[in-house]
Symmetry: C2
Subunit: 194 residues, 2 copies
């Protein structure tokens, strides 16, 4: 039977942005889709019970690649080989732009989700991890936005409702893979700090 956290997690979606993101020199680019991002983040999303995993790329060939991967695991050979993977990848939706993802969620929810951007180098964060948990507790529909490559473009950060504080490890080194960052943030949100 679903518990309270299941209900609350259903208000949360995850977005992975491939455009606009920045390269190592801070220039806006469109990054290539990484197959393991789809698998790892879908598995984390499913494990922590979030509603959907929305992949943002305006590149049609990249969208085709995503659809091929999903088809393999949902209706193709992979669906029999590993049904658990099917349950995870079924959470994936593909969008041309972040605005399109927000619009799609708005139509489902009936109200726009609050947008939360994440970055390892967030200059002016306005939301702690405890604050994020408080937003979830009061059933605020949320879209957690993660960037690929060297992170989200400034334009995406500027437009968001909330800028989440970076994950702090030990010391100044802070270079988690985006796949790891999504898992850690969902665990901080929904594990009940066990």
């Amino acid at each position: 039977m679903p518990g309270l956290d299941d209900f609350l997690a259903a208000n949360v979606s995850v977005a992975l942005v491939h455009y606009p993101v920045v390269d190592k020199n801070g220039m806006d680019i469109a990054s290539a889709v990484t197959s393991l991002d789809l698998h790892d983040i879908a598995r984390s999303a499913r494990t922590y019970g979030v509603d959907s995993f929305r992949i943002i790329t305006p590149l049609v060939d990249q969208q085709d690649l995503i659809k091929q991967i999903i088809d393999h695991w949902i209706t193709g050979v992979g669906s029999a080989y590993n049904p658990d993977r099917k349950d995870a990848l079924a959470l994936i939706k593909v969008h041309f732009t972040l605005a399109e993802a927000v619009k799609a969620l708005t139509q489902i929810i009936g109200t726009p989700p609050r947008t939360v951007v994440t970055s390892a180098r967030m200059a002016n964060s306005n939301l702690s991890h405890a604050g994020l948990r408080d937003l979830v507790k009061i059933s605020t529909p949320l879209l957690l936005i993660f960037g690929t490559a060297w992170g989200l473009a400034q334009s995406i950060i500027d437009e968001a409702d909330y800028r989440l504080e970076p994950i702090q490890g030990n010391g100044s080194y802070n270079h988690l893979a985006v796949r790891s960052a999504v898992a850690v943030i969902l665990d901080r949100l929904f594990s009940g700090r066990k």
Copy 2:
């Protein structure tokens, strides 16, 4: 300046086992090395300040592959392209067996590390995440052991000092990638539950 958590994290190492692990039918196998496991887990290990990341594989061609990847990022073209990656991959050591990794750590520490096995399907766990944190707090040298493929072989689980309780998300689905599981467990250990 290093804080208390830095000091404590230095007592902890992570091992990723490629043999013996089980396939989907529960048979013991040697799995292939996945390049992104090296990168993602090294980056998590470095971010949370653990002492070393020990990769276990008896297959010489797989050991060669690991060394090629490390060389590329530590002394090759990659070291100039992304120095942060160098700092992370420098934590990697390669061993033929888990016993060899334990022996190497014993020589460094002067006493055998306590071994902690992890699994999404741990039948008889004898350590909670809070209990693991307590072990770290009293400066117990620890080797956290993770499996690839469908998880660690029973023989590895039976020989360990501690069997960590599985990561629980929301509901019964519990299929995190090993890359995500390492990040979540290190975050639970060292983030101070911020």
